[in-house]
């Protein structure tokens, strides 16, 4: 599957991937990180969090990691990490958004729209 097929990413999916590109995390840690990254704007309840995770898994963007950090003693916790495809998809999405921002900036600064 080419990364373009899953674009554009939904807001929660984008934040999920962004949180995971820093390394593996478990569910609640993802939720907290997403809140930080978005300055508290994106708040995921438990259900939203795991439907997003489920979707990302189905699309092959993330997977459950086989290893877990040694300092975590809660053995039942599941950790997630980005797949290579997920990393590509995130990069493409950021490019796409970057392009959009460029266009929008130019338009707002008064240059004639093309």
């Amino acid at each position: 599957m080419a990364a373009r097929n899953v674009l554009p990413l939904s807001r929660s999916l984008l934040h999920l991937l962004l949180a995971l590109q820093e390394g593996q995390r478990h569910g609640y840690a993802v939720k907290k990180r997403v809140e930080e990254l978005s300055n508290g704007v994106v708040k995921m309840g438990p259900g939203t969090l795991y439907t997003t995770i489920q979707r990302a898994e189905e699309q092959g963007l993330i997977r459950e990691s086989a290893e877990r950090p040694e300092d975590d003693d809660q053995s039942q916790r599941r950790y997630y990490e980005l797949t290579d495809f997920g990393r590509d998809a995130l990069a493409s999405e950021v490019d796409r958004l970057g392009h959009f921002v460029d266009v929008a900036r130019t338009a707002l600064s008064g240059a004639p729209a093309k």
Partner: protein, 908 residues
């Protein structure tokens, strides 16, 4: 509900509604995130709880839809055969989950219907949540005492005093002559002043026996309470010990830990703070009052019986609280104290029968909440009615919608959906409506509670503590589920029952459009609404009666404030009189002041008690003993507050300590003691004091309450108080009349006091209009809320009538078309349509009036000047309700008359 533990089961239950595959994979992870989220700081406290469950609810609804979409296969509702084939609980839950997603989408596609239903339910659930929240905080939380069930209060009653103070002798009698109490404590209240010149403050103080905290079962927040030794030697100690309230500690000393052990200046003398009472501590008499004791000082009362018991029991001015022994009940304790009183009756000849003395005993819970309970129960019933009406309305909407969806149901039945399956699907739809309505209701309730607080009826105990906590939310969940069932079951069963074959044909048959259930629901709604409107009408009449009572004085343009003088600096009456005279002179000089005066007890703002009298020419061997409510007044008081002088003259400053002792009495005094005689020049004496000559008669004034009996009252000039009683009038209320806006006087009057003596504090500063407003605060509060609820009820009921009639018109368009084609006139059509509506209305209103008659007696204790069966109210309410309802019928009926027969007949 401060941790996840108490509420986790609710979430577990919610999870059951999610698709099985999703739950099987993520269930434990969801719970863990739920728990972590519950601990986040922004979700702490009452408001936090509300926010938390709102967020969880929204998240859950989104998940319902998203998890299913993500499952890949199933979109929309699936054929009934397709799901639940395994027949297990899990399978069924999964099906219900599917029903939910389907219901959400279905309602999304019918936004008009969904919005009306949700708003209706939100009104019903919200008003219930708000009132339940208040009832829970006010009535259901135990009082902050240890084992509050064992705590009782003791009072006295006399003719003219249904519930009043206890004397120290009675306290000693109950302490020694009964077996029902582990211990009894006694206290009295007094105004005291922190005389620190930096920040003088007048507060309420209480002189309490050292056993008070044990009797009430209270732990100190800091330091300790008094010892018996401290109480006994209080006067001889160089610095008397005091205990302060938690609130005063925070307000005055910013919660400084070093306060315990520190010396503070009170009433001009240094006292040592030895302890702080816990947060929210109140004496049992102070739950409903604005003024709460901030300072406690020790009071010594010997724990032994008096040698000779006085005839009247002694001076009544204290409050008594006790703790029952393990095997005593309030009833047994009551007969115990009654027996003790009977003993002093026979042993000492105390309490002659004509004074009708009786001791009273209440559990502290009854004492604190007894007065407000009927009002809250009435409100709870009112919101219950509103909810029932809302349910009936939504049920009607669903019935109508069910008819429109008959084709859909028929197709599904044809495809093999069982009746159970359809009923469940429809109930789930109801539940979704109820849940969304419930969320809206919570939002309304948050606003409602704020409204409630702003309407504070004045004597509502613990109103500040009202919040929407976990218990209220649990109540909302229960009400929501119950509501969904209540309004959903009828339409669900109805829709499932209707046969396949009359539905699939689908042609609107000429018929009456299902009169049965819809009509019954509308009749019920109307009946409930009428009963509520009658209740509100009776409250409105009560309020009207109360506000039309003449208080006997002229409230407009007058202000009042309280000043008390410490005896350290004003040791005798001469010093106090000089101070007040100078103060009044300076206040009168202020621009905009018409006159200024001083009085001991302000009518309707404080309670007044009586003093035994010897009245000239009044024979106590044939009549009850003479007594009168006592007042101390400065010259000019009557003119300032607007009490008319009926006869004789007012006091003057020349009525001083050297002059003949004079007094003024009220009209009730003359009626009781000197009927048909000229009172001017006659005399009375206060319990053994010098003879006082009456120089004037003043008009009667309502004092202890707008509806309280007007008793004989006498006024002694402030200048002669010490001559008559030997007392020092240190605590007076200043009353000033303004030429213009009275509130403008408050601040300059304060400055005058400060200029005269900077260590004095001024308290209870308000306009007398505010005093009058406070006197009718509770009826105003009730009439406002009953008005709001009955308004909502009537509106919903009328919407119900309108909906059913206009639905009937829609269903009968073909029939009407035929009638018009055959020559029926407009009026005939309108009256045909009106007839059915009118029958419903008449039945509904009649049932409502019957219901009101049944319920009226529960309102009895809340009414004044109007009987629960007041014909005026009933007639007015009937006319209004019938009128509004007929209007709601007439509008769609008119539409029927304008039906175009050609179009009607061509209609599918």
């Amino acid at each position: 509900m401060t941790t996840g533990g108490g509420s986790e089961w609710v979430y577990r239950l919610l999870l059951r509604g999610l698709p099985r595959h999703f739950r099987a994979r993520f269930g434990p992870d969801l719970l863990e995130v739920f728990r972590e989220q519950r601990r986040e700081p922004e979700y702490r406290g009452g408001v936090g709880s509300v926010r938390f469950w709102r967020d969880i609810g929204v998240d859950w609804l989104k998940t319902m839809v998203a998890a299913r979409r993500s499952a890949g296969g199933v979109r929309g509702w699936s054929s009934p055969r397709e799901v639940g084939v395994d027949g297990t609980w899990e399978g069924t839950m999964d099906e219900i989950g599917r029903d939910f997603a389907f219901a959400v989408r279905g309602l999304w596609r019918a936004p008009g219907f969904a919005a009306v239903a949700v708003v209706t339910l939100a009104l019903g659930i919200g008003s219930n949540a708000a009132i339940f929240g208040v009832v829970k905080s006010v009535l259901m939380e135990p009082l902050p005492y240890g084992e509050p069930d064992e705590v009782v209060t003791i009072w006295s009653s006399w003719t003219g005093f249904p519930k009043t103070w206890v004397s120290e002798n009675e306290y000693r009698l109950y302490l020694t002559g009964t077996r029902s109490f582990e211990d009894l404590a006694i206290w009295n209240e007094n105004d005291v002043t922190f005389t620190d010149p930096e920040r003088p403050e007048r507060v309420l103080g209480a002189g309490v026996t050292p056993n008070l905290v044990e009797v009430l079962g209270v732990d100190m927040a800091a330091g300790r309470f008094f010892t018996e030794e401290e109480a006994m030697r209080a006067d001889s100690l160089p610095t008397e010990a005091i205990v302060v309230s938690y609130e005063a500690w925070q307000r005055r000393w910013a919660g400084a830990p070093s306060l315990v052990g520190r010396s503070v200046e009170m009433n001009g003398r240094l006292r040592q703070v030895i302890g702080v009472l816990p947060e929210g501590f109140r004496l049992p008499t102070q739950f409903g009052s604005f003024q709460v004791a901030d300072v406690f000082y020790p009071r010594y009362v010997p724990r032994s019986m008096v040698e000779s018991f006085p005839e009247g029991g002694g001076s009544h001015g204290s409050f008594v609280v006790g703790r029952l022994v393990a095997n005593a009940t309030p009833e047994s304790a009551r007969s115990d104290i009654e027996a003790a009183i009977d003993r002093v009756r026979s042993d000492f000849g105390a309490y002659p029968p004509e004074r009708a003395f009786a001791p009273l005993l209440f559990t502290v819970q009854d004492d604190v909440f007894g007065a407000i309970r009927p009002a809250l129960v009435a409100l709870l019933a009112a919101v219950g009615f509103v909810l029932l009406i809302a349910c009936a309305n939504v049920a009607n909407l669903l019935l109508a919608r069910g008819d429109e969806r008959a084709g859909e149901f028929a197709v599904r039945t044809a495809l093999g959906a069982g009746r159970k399956r359809l009923v469940r699907q429809l109930l789930v739809e109801s539940l979704v409506l109820a849940v969304v309505g419930g969320l809206g209701g919570v939002a309304l309730a948050v606003g409602g509670v704020e409204l409630f607080k702003s309407l504070n009826p004045g004597n509502l105990p613990r109103i500040d503590a009202v919040e929407l906590d976990g218990g209220v939310l649990l109540f909302v969940v229960a009400v929501t589920v119950g509501t969904a069932f209540l309004f959903g079951i009828l339409p669900a069963l109805g829709a499932a029952r209707s046969g396949l074959h009359d539905r699939m044909g689908g042609r609107g048959e000429v018929g009456s459009g299902r009169p049965g259930w819809q009509g019954a629901l509308v009749v019920t709604e109307l009946a409930l609404a009428v009963a509520l409107v009658v209740g509100a009408g009776l409250m409105a009449r009560t309020f009207d009666e109360l506000t039309s009572i003449e208080p006997g004085f002229e409230a407009g343009r007058t202000v009042t404030m309280a000043v008390s003088l410490p005896t350290t600096r004003y040791p005798d009456a001469a010093a106090s009189v000089d101070f007040y005279r100078e103060l009044l002179r300076r206040v009168e000089e202020l621009p905009g002041v018409e006159s200024a005066s001083a009085i001991r007890s302000l009518p309707l703002a404080s309670q007044i008690g009586d003093w035994g009298l010897d009245v000239e020419g009044y024979d106590e061997s044939v009549h009850p003993r003479a007594a009168g409510d006592w007042q101390i007044a400065s010259p000019g008081y009557f003119a300032t507050i607007g009490i008319p002088m009926v006869d004789g003259r007012d006091f003057t400053w020349s009525d001083d300590a050297e002059a003949r002792s004079v007094g003024i009495v009220n009209e009730a005094f003359v009626r009781r003691y000197w009927p048909d005689q000229n009172p001017i020049g006659r005399t009375f004496a206060m319990g053994g004091g010098p003879e006082t000559t009456v120089v004037g008669v003043a008009g009667d004034v309502r004092h202890n309450g707008l509806t309280a009996e007007i008793k004989p009252k006498f006024y002694i000039p402030v200048t002669q108080w010490s001559v008559v009683t030997g007392g020092n009038p240190t605590s007076m209320k200043i009353v000033a009349r303004a030429q213009g806006e009275p509130a403008a006087l408050l601040s300059p009057a304060r400055s005058v006091v400060r200029d005269l003596d900077p260590s004095l504090a001024v308290a209870e500063v308000y306009t007398i209009d505010e005093v009058l407003t406070a006197a009718v605060a509770q009826p105003r509060f009730l009439v406002t809320l009953m008005g709001v609820f009955s308004g909502i009820a009537l509106l919903l009921a009328v919407v119900g009538v309108y909906g059913v009639v206009s639905y009937g018109v829609r269903k009968r368009v073909r029939e009407i078309g035929i009638r018009i084609a055959l020559g029926a006139g407009q009026n005939e059509v309108v009256s045909l349509m009106l007839r059915r509506g009118t029958t419903m209305i008449v039945m509904g209103v009649a049932a409502g009036l019957a219901l009101s008659l049944l319920m009226g007696r529960f309102l009895g204790s809340l009414l004044y000047g109007v009987t629960p069966t007041d014909p005026m109210t009933y007639a007015l309410v009937s006319c209004t309700c019938v009128g509004v309802a007929i209007l709601a019928t007439w509008v769609p009926s008119r539409r029927a008359a304008r039906v175009d027969p050609i179009r009607a007949l061509k209609m599918d």
